[in-house]
């Protein structure tokens, strides 16, 4: 379904934001291959509509929690690309001063808890943050991202149940990209949809096309409105697909080629571009310009990151305790 309350400006902003997610990760991936970045990366190419659709429905002060695959969530939430890139380069100017890295991107002051890289580990934290919002009588909500893999770990059950009984303002956003690392979701889950499990907690559950950014935005807006009104959590399942492998070293041979090809046909950015052109909001030359401006922003970010100082090695000893 498509929301109609989005004006041209919002639509183009979502389009650009998705491009920024995709092109950021492409850049990062090549720089990893070139050996310019330490560590590893978990890419989310193909899942941008979910990140951007959800985060576009958030207000100032709302909080996102994320996973080991957080790049697009951080960009969608609006964290400065410079600070994200610098974090991947392990620089002091990174959003976590070089102590987090790819899997812990975040900046709470800007609405994103450092990403939690233990599968399912962020679900209780998101629920607790929502408890704080409710207790402090704020109208904010939490968007708790996790993957289909997390739907089978104990914290999913414990935390969603607790969020449900206390009517907490948290939206549990399952990005079902069909694989937990290399394991297909059908092998590890008997129910068809993760959202079917919402019934077990007495909360609404909805499975939607996670590659339709406006559809995601609409579903998240409705769930958010409900949560802000004190009516409690929703379990949103966004069906999507990661076009890339699980992590840097994964060629993805466990996935049938025709499946990958079919999902490539449903690329959320390309399809949204077509929609915007069809709706008359975008001309293809505008699209080229937008992409060029994203490239420029990323050039700038890489320059900023590379030019930033490394942390002093002794800084590893600080920030253990407040």
């Amino acid at each position: 379904m498509t929301e109609t309350d989005l004006g041209r400006g919002r639509k183009l902003a979502m389009y650009r934001r998705m491009l920024l997610c995709r092109m950021f990760e492409e850049r990062v991936y090549y720089m990893f291959l070139e050996g310019r970045l330490p560590g590893t990366v978990h890419q989310s190419a193909g899942q941008e509509a979910s990140a951007v659709g959800v985060c576009s429905a958030l207000a100032e002060g709302d909080v996102v929690t994320s996973t080991h695959r957080p790049h697009s969530h951080a960009i969608a939430r609006g964290l400065p690309v410079n600070s994200l890139m610098a974090e991947l380069f392990a620089k002091t100017t990174g959003c976590c001063h070089g102590k987090g890295g790819s899997m812990h991107l975040g900046d709470l002051a800007l609405g994103m808890l450092p990403a939690i890289a233990i599968v399912g580990g962020g679900i209780p934290l998101a629920t607790g943050q929502a408890l704080a919002f409710q207790y402090l009588r704020k109208e904010n909500i939490v968007a708790c991202f996790f993957g289909d893999g997390a739907a089978n770990i104990g914290t999913f059950h414990e935390a969603i149940n607790m969020g449900a009984i206390w009517n907490l303002p948290v939206i549990y956003v399952c990005e079902n990209n069909r694989y937990g690392a290399s394991t297909a979701v059908e092998k590890v889950m008997k129910v068809k949809h993760v959202a079917d499990r919402a019934a077990a907690y007495g909360i609404p559950g909805e499975t939607i096309d996670g590659n339709d950014v406006e559809g995601v935005y609409g579903a998240m807006s409705r769930a958010g409105e409900r949560a802000r009104a004190g009516a409690g959590p929703t379990l949103l399942e966004l069906e999507t697909y990661r076009i890339s492998g699980h992590s840097r070293s994964d060629p993805g041979r466990y996935r049938p080629q025709d499946e990958v090809a079919a999902w490539r046909q449903r690329d959320p950015i390309e399809s949204y571009e077509k929609t915007l052109i069809a709706e008359g909001h975008l001309r293809s030359e505008d699209a080229g310009q937008i992409k060029a401006s994203v490239e420029e922003e990323l050039d700038e970010a890489v320059k900023y990151a590379e030019g930033s100082p490394d942390p002093a090695k002794e800084e590893c000893l600080t920030d253990v305790f407040a």
Partner: protein
């Protein structure tokens, strides 16, 4: 550094009366909840009307005063209790979480060791996690899954503070400090020291009542207390083992051996100054813990004292601890398993007379 004796005496002189650990902890919670609206309690069976105020009655009556908005009964979900508390702490509250037995903390281990302990570090120091996780420990003839001592596990995790009071005065003062601390604190309480059933036989008939002054006080973390001065051997202990060590010291004194007993009070931060100063002075160190011998907190103390005080010691550092088995059930086995006044005094005597 230990608190000066004079201060303790003054405190006792002005005390209104004696109370149990349970009462002292409850008073700490009540005072902190009155003082700071952000302090909330989260746990199982802690505020149910007609219930028992948590497994050991510590929160009894608090729901009546503060309501269920602040005394939140949870499902049996220890991982979520820990993680929701950590998330709420990040969000600006100061939760005091509660599990019925410390053994259940293993269910919550990811949330404590990976989340609460590391969020500050991973964020580059941008956020803090001011939460307290209260956990009863110690063997009380409940067998292998309701009687463990877990201080060593948590002492090993950077980012967690660990408190382990041995008496009502310390319990109250340390809990109030824990609640005001901006870091996650694991707060261990020994079941035989609660005092809810009077001086229990398993505890060796120890005095469970203690002076708690009427005026407010806090006890800083990282300050051990010399509970009995002595010149011949230093005994370092925590929780119930402080009481057994003091009793052992009394027996040793009958034969002219003066043991110095140090109640470590918090394991993180650890008061190395007091322990190393004492070990250098007595030249002999005995560590007493209820935890399993291997990899317990006593091993860390032995290693550090060996490193820092090597030239001062007249004897090897010794430990009295539980053997490396699960906690047994049969009372006869449990009594053998847990360090006793006899085993402590025997090893201390050996240390003094053999070197």
């Amino acid at each position: 550094m230990s608190l000066p004796d004079a201060q303790t005496c003054k405190t006792e002189a002005s005390a209104r009366n004696k109370m149990t650990m349970v009462e002292a902890l409850r008073e700490a919670l009540r005072e902190e909840m009155r003082r700071d609206e952000r302090v909330i309690l989260i746990g199982e069976d802690i505020g149910v009307e007609g219930g028992f105020g948590g497994a050991f009655t510590v929160t009894l009556g608090l729901a009546e005063e503060f309501g269920h908005r602040r005394v939140m009964d949870t499902p049996i979900s220890e991982a979520a209790i820990a993680g929701v508390s950590a998330g709420a702490a990040v969000g600006g509250l100061r939760p005091v979480a509660d599990v019925q037995y410390g053994d259940f903390l293993f269910i919550a281990m990811d949330q404590l060791a990976n989340q609460a302990a590391k969020l500050r570090y991973m964020s580059g120091g941008k956020i803090s996690v001011p939460m307290v996780m209260r956990a009863p420990v110690g063997a009380t003839t409940r067998g292998a899954q309701h009687g463990q001592s877990l201080e060593g596990f948590f002492m090993h995790v950077p980012g967690l503070k660990v408190a382990c009071p041995s008496n009502p005065y310390d319990g109250k003062g340390l809990l109030k400090t824990a609640i005001r601390d901006d870091n996650p604190v694991i707060f261990f309480e020994h079941k035989l020291l609660y005092g809810s059933k009077g001086a229990r036989k398993e505890a060796g008939g120890i005095e469970v009542l203690g002076y708690v002054p009427e005026e407010e006080y806090l006890i800083p973390f990282g300050q051990a207390k010399i509970v009995r001065p002595g010149r011949d051997v230093t005994i370092v202990a925590n929780l119930l083992m402080v009481h057994r060590s003091v009793a052992a010291a009394a027996i040793l004194a009958e034969t002219g051996i003066e043991a110095e007993v140090i109640d470590i009070r918090t394991l993180v931060p650890f008061d190395w100054d007091t322990v190393t100063e004492s070990a250098r002075r007595t030249r002999k160190l005995l560590i007493v813990e209820e935890d399993n011998l291997t990899g317990g907190w006593g091993a860390e103390v032995a290693a550090r004292v060996g490193e820092f005080c090597f030239g001062y010691l007249d004897a090897p550092v010794r430990r009295v601890a539980a053997p490396d088995t699960p906690v047994p059930f049969a009372p006869v086995m449990e009594r053998f398993y847990i360090p006793s006044v006899e085993s402590i005094s025997a090893i201390a005597r050996e240390l003094v007379s053999s070197y």
